[in-house]
């Protein structure tokens, strides 16, 4: 424990300052309780998510390089992002900047032109779950838990980009590729690539029970196509929700605002259509941890969740 650093740059991403406010608020609560410090990245810009990389390669790298440069300016080597899309984009930029010196030089020149400090060093990006697990860990969560989530059956939903692809997230030890030297090395702190367990471990430490959820725990929710390709997204979300429900879950724990929004949106649409077994509500894992640490439902903004997990939690006496 203690590999990443207790004080890091915090890149919340656009979503967390709007519709996913609950995730931001509860993340701050959990970090404070676990004795960790988030340094808000001032004046950041959007990471480009999964969309702008299909339009422009260099532009997307620049968007992320600007955020990296801001983190360096605030004196950080590590950026932590709570969103799968954001951490993916930053890690992707990290990969291309590290493996191609020409790209690195070009990006630095363009940053200067745009009035931003060029990068002296490429900061590393971690998902916030990885950071919580390694800097605090299940033991600390157990110590801090005042109101254990006893009886709560959770389906831990990780989504796609938390451990994938290994080139960017650096989760896989025996990665392929022709050039041995160019292969990214596995990160010490990385979660298991096909069977991630950090969220299970943290929530179990807080007293919850994890239900069997493989392979849907890393199944796509439609992601960048959740608005543009409704049929596919609807089917994927249906598979996720039905698996959770049929395996006995009371609630789905999420760790990405995009997955969360997609699950909630299509949950509602599926319920309107009368599809069976899709009525599992979703909550951010930080909200559940916050409840376990003794905070009220109002503190972790449970009302913001459109899928309304309050009745389930109230029934178990947790909120």
């Amino acid at each position: 424990m203690g590999v990443i650093g207790k004080r890091v740059a915090y890149y919340p991403g656009c979503s967390l300052e709007g519709a996913a406010r609950a995730y931001d608020v509860s993340t701050r609560i959990v970090a404070r309780e676990l004795g960790l410090e988030l340094d808000y990245l001032e004046d950041y810009n959007c990471c480009g998510a999964m969309e702008s990389k299909n339009v422009t390669f260099m532009g997307t790298l620049l968007l992320n390089a600007r955020n990296m440069s801001l983190a360096r300016k605030q004196g950080h080597d590590v950026i932590v992002a709570p969103c799968n899309g954001c951490s993916f984009s930053l890690q992707r930029a990290e990969y291309f900047l590290q493996t191609d010196s020409k790209i690195f030089e070009r990006v630095n020149a363009l940053l200067k032109e745009g009035g931003v400090d060029p990068l002296d060093k490429i900061p590393e990006t971690y998902h916030i779950l990885e950071w919580f697990y390694h800097e605090a860990g299940p033991q600390k969560v157990k110590e801090k838990t005042k109101r254990p989530l006893r009886g709560l059956k959770v389906a831990n939903y990780y989504g796609c980009l938390y451990t994938r692809p290994h080139f960017y997230a650096r989760t896989y030890a025996h990665a392929g590729g022709q050039d041995e030297e160019a292969r990214p090395r596995r990160r010490e702190t990385a979660d298991d690539d096909e069977h991630p367990y950090y969220m299970n471990a943290l929530l179990e430490a807080a007293g919850a029970t994890s239900v069997e959820f493989e392979p849907m725990h890393t199944q796509c929710c439609g992601g960048p196509h959740s608005l543009s390709d409704e049929q596919v997204s609807e089917k994927f979300v249906m598979m996720i929700l039905q698996t959770a429900k049929r395996n006995g879950a009371d609630i789905i724990a999420t760790e990405c605002p995009l997955c969360h929004a997609s699950l909630e949106m299509y949950r509602h649409r599926l319920m309107m259509k009368g599809v069976p077994d899709v009525d599992v509500p979703a909550a951010y894992f930080t909200q559940l941890l916050g409840l376990a640490f003794g905070y009220s439902a109002n503190d972790v903004k449970l009302k913001d969740n459109l899928s309304d997990p309050l009745p389930v939690l109230k029934r178990l006496g947790l909120a």
């Binding site: 656009c14 300052e17 709007g18 519709a19 406010r21 004046d43 810009n45 959007c46 480009g48 998510a49 969309e51 702008s52 990389k53 299909n54 339009v55 422009t56 390669f57 260099m58 532009g59 620049l62 968007l63 291309f96 790209i103 032109e113 745009g114 009035g115 796609c160 980009l161 451990t163 994938r164 692809p165 290994h166 080139f167 896989y172 990665a175 392929g176 590729g177 022709q178 690539d193 796509c220 439609g222 992601g223 960048p224 196509h225 608005l227 390709d229 596919v232 997204s233 089917k235 994927f236 598979m239 929004a261 949106m265 509602h268 309107m272 903004k301 009302k303 913001d304 459109l306 309304d308």
Partner: protein, 252 residues
């Protein structure tokens, strides 16, 4: 030698004769079934070159057609068998544009879950390569407008303009692009959620925080919808981004 995978039957060429008798022999039925030439001589090698020369598409050369990507792909497994990443890579490398065009209706369906890239034993950035194939086809005018491209552009323009995105704008802007008649206020030109035409599910979702009297949530999001969050000192950076995109031919 590469496996020559191209469709041998072209549905539009099939001729159906209900009753056809020639010289006393009944030959009615489907004609022109497998009479396409099997020799390929319409390669377009420049197409593959353009992909290889792009920084995110250069790993296409490493593919050895094991089909691990296709086996992992959720779109292939749960949606449409015709979505086949391995095959697309093969066709792009051969430069069989007409075969790629035949699959244009499924090619854009990649949901960027990166299972293919993650599991590829040869280190091909499969997802990126597929997007580069699509991008190159679109640039050359070989493929019609497809929904995800429309959304990608819409998203990128919003980032370019403000430095940040805003959920309400994305949602209502996209609804409007889909042909719904969204009513906007006359001064700020922002959509008003309860007037005009919106899908029923969206109406119900917007009603939820109102019914639960979640005032702070409503105020925050209404504020963001009216006054788009911006990154400070964005203008200078925006110019650089625009310049880069112009070089790449991404701005039209």
């Amino acid at each position: 030698m590469a496996i020559h995978e191209r469709s041998l039957v072209e549905p539009e060429r099939i001729v159906r004769k209900e009753r056809l008798v020639i010289d006393g022999v009944d030959v009615s039925g489907d004609w022109n079934l497998i009479i396409l030439p099997r020799v390929i001589n319409d390669y377009d090698l420049d197409f593959a070159k353009e992909i290889i020369n792009s920084p995110d598409g250069k790993t296409i050369t490493q593919c050895y057609q094991c089909s691990y990507c296709t086996a992992s792909c959720p779109v292939h497994n749960y949606w449409d068998e015709r979505y086949n990443p391995r095959h697309f890579i093969h066709l792009a490398r051969l430069g069989l544009i007409d075969e790629l065009q035949k699959r244009a209706d499924v090619m854009w369906r990649c949901v960027s879950c990166h299972k293919c890239t993650h599991r590829c034993p040869k280190g091909v950035l499969v997802e990126e390569v597929l997007k580069v194939i699509l991008r190159t086809m679109a640039k050359k005018g070989l493929i019609d407008e497809y929904p995800s491209k429309k959304f990608d552009k819409f998203f990128t323009e919003s980032v370019l303009e403000y430095g940040r995105i805003e959920d309400g704008e994305l949602l209502f802007g996209w609804i409007e692009k889909q042909g719904y008649n969204v009513v906007k206020d006359p001064i700020l030109k922002k959509p008003i959620p309860f007037l005009g035409e919106t899908p029923e599910w969206l109406k119900q979702l917007v009603m939820k925080p109102i019914k639960s009297m979640n005032v702070s949530f409503l105020v925050l999001n209404a504020k963001h919808m009216l006054f788009h969050p911006r990154t400070k000192n964005w203008n200078k950076f925006k110019q650089v981004l625009r310049k880069v995109m112009q070089e790449e031919g991404a701005l039209t």
